[in-house]
Amino acid sequence: MQPLLTIQGPEAALFWILAPLSVAAALGMLLVKKAVHSALLLAWVMITLAIFYIAQGAAFLGVVQVIVYTGAVMMLFLFILMLVGVDSSDSLTETITGLRPIAITAAVGLGGLLVSLLGRATLGREPVGLEAANASGNVEGLAALLFSTYVFPFEVVSALLITAALGAMVLAHHQRTNPRPSQREQAINRFRSGSLAGAAGLPGPGVFARHNAVDVPALLPDGTPAPSSISATLKARGNVLDSGQFQLDNVDTTVVEEK
């Protein structure tokens, strides 16, 4: 029996460095608690896969793998993760009993199926036809196949993807009942409303020269606090200080004369 796989030199070194890292990252992806870490490890697994593709002569596949999966898909995934739960960790309690054994059985079954299929297809067989397929260049060969023999499935898949993207947009999109006023319209409205008092913007918070934090209402010329100078959010939270304590009347203003 001839040797099953012959990889030598740099490719072997690459394989023996990256393969353990890749497997470790794949395991880590399952075992780490934070969802963002898990996503990161998945991205790393994809990058190592891309490097393997490139090392095996499929430069186009490798690069596209990085652009599409690592670049766009994983980035969107991270995006959502960060928005939904910045620090959320997985809960390890089983909510529905009996789910865990079923999941493990399914995972082992699928893994076994993949290993046996790929093994039967590759182990002990010499790859043939690579030279012929790449005769006019890897990308050109791929393009010729995609846009002639497989053009129908290719178009169907792209139509499916576009439908899915549009569907997601329609589902996530919420219709405004009235159009959002633009910056220009807001400015015009300020000037055209009954009073010009707020035309130049609302007063800023803080008591001049005494306390300029955002949680202190400004003082009007007559000494009363101006409620419009404080953000509505702070008011709702109750995080507003009384500006009376910073009034000039209540603090010691006697100036020591320098002699």
């Binding site: 963002v36 596209v64 980035m75 991270l78 960060m82």
Partner: protein, 414 residues
């Protein structure tokens, strides 16, 4: 003999040396371009700029770098430590890697070995640069997330949305180049431009779209919404200090140089001389092409600085609208036109069909732009009612002034 075959017989030590040279050149260019940017921007703002450290302030950036490295390195308590440390490393590494496929010179004699100054020549070289750029964004996004505070998170999210959007426009602008050159390898594209004109002229719309999206891709003004010091403090790098911040700084400038180098390669004929000066390529045993290459790269760098000195930052929604509603549809239509023209010119003998098609395209574009103008005019011609007079004293409007005190000479307004 093309670049790929020239590179094949490079011994290991030449490859190592080239990798080292690429690294050193990038770092050197970063230091010099920081100085150059500050001087140019200063000039545009009627200032002098750094002129104390060294002749013309030349080593100011180096001094700043040393100062940066000696600063205290802080990691916030709320930060995710591992990711916080990895993020700047990803950013800087990816920035350098893009340079591996740039052909910097034509065939030259390098320590007795006939080669070209290009680390490697992939058949999908340009796509490789796009791929590396998309990995580089991870650095920014992760920095934003791992800092554990609000502004960096917002900056990171903005950056990811920005880069995903502008990468589409960038990728589409490159398609026309691929169609015309028949290759995705950087060296083959440079070679293909020698046979025709530079693609910056032939495919001018692609060039413009690429130039805009490369500014968006590198997070530079007026598209620097991920940093946006006016609204997000420093964006993704708010919590970074010392060497980790320096890495982001380095990555930003290396990225600028890298996208400029790609623009040079794809649209301005790469390392070749400008048409008419082809004889200069033989000077210094072919090394003069390196000078041509960097002249073009620095031209793009100057444009970057010019933009920064001229334009205010875009509002975020305007920026996204511009990317999705203008750049992407325009580049899709342009690809359609380019592909059709290409098919016509390769299949039919007569030029009449080509010119006929071009004429139809021009007519359609004119029609669309006229329709746009009309609808715009309609929108702006709405008459607003006059506001009621305010209930406090205001100065009289210029139209209400009937008498005006003017000097003896120009009294034509009465």
């Amino acid at each position: 003999m093309n670049n790929a075959t020239l590179l094949l017989d490079d011994p290991g030590w030449i490859i190592t040396l080239k990798a080292l040279i690429v690294f050193v050149v990038c770092v050197f260019l970063t230091i010099m371009s920081v100085w150059g940017e500050r001087r140019i921007v200063a000039r545009m703002q009627m200032r002098v700029g750094p002129n104390r450290v060294g002749k013309f302030g030349l080593i100011q950036a180096l001094a700043d770098g040393v100062k940066l490295a000696l600063k205290e390195d802080l990691i916030p308590a709320a930060a995710d430590k591992v990711v916080f440390i990895i993020a700047p490393i990803i950013s800087a590494t990816a920035a350098f890697m893009a340079f591996a496929v740039m052909p910097l010179t034509g065939p030259v004699n390098f320590f007795g070995e006939e080669t070209v100054m290009q680390l490697t020549d992939l058949p999908v070289g340009v796509l490789y640069v796009l791929a590396i750029a998309s990995v580089g964004v991870y650095g920014i996004v992760l920095a934003g997330w791992s800092s554990g505070s609000t502004y960096p998170l917002l900056g990171g999210l903005r950056s990811s949305a920005q880069v995903i959007s502008y990468e589409i426009a960038m990728g589409l602008s490159l398609v026309a180049v691929f169609i015309y050159s028949g290759s995705m390898s950087t060296s083959a594209i440079v070679q293909a431009q020698q046979d025709t004109w530079w693609y910056g002229l032939v495919l001018f719309p692609s060039f413009v779209i690429y130039a805009i999206s490369m500014v968006g891709e590198t997070n530079r003004a007026p598209f620097d919404l991920a940093e946006a010091e006016g609204e997000l403090v420093g964006g993704f790098h708010t919590e970074y200090s010392s060497l980790k911040f320096a890495l982001f700084f380095l990555a930003e400038y290396v990225n600028i140089i890298a996208v400029s180098a790609l623009a040079t390669t794809l649209f301005l004929g790469g390392y070749h001389a400008i048409p008419g000066l082809g004889f200069t390529e033989q000077w210094l045993g072919g090394w003069f092409t390196l000078i041509w290459f960097f002249i073009k790269v620095l031209f793009f760098f100057f444009i970057f600085v010019w933009l920064r000195g001229t334009l205010p930052r875009l509002r975020y929604d305007q920026f996204m609208q511009f990317g999705w509603k203008v750049l992407i549809p325009v580049s899709l239509l342009w690809i359609l036109v380019v592909a059709t023209l290409r098919i016509i010119s390769t299949t039919s003998q007569s030029r009449v069909v080509t010119f006929g098609f071009a004429g139809v395209v021009v007519l359609v574009v004119l029609g669309i732009s006229t329709a746009f103008e009309n609808s715009k005019n309609k929108r702006t011609s709405v008459v607003h009612p006059e506001p009621a007079a305010p209930d406090f004293a205001v100065p009289s409007l210029p139209s209400e002034i009937t008498t005006i005190n003017v000097s003896q000479q120009g009294g034509d307004r009465g």
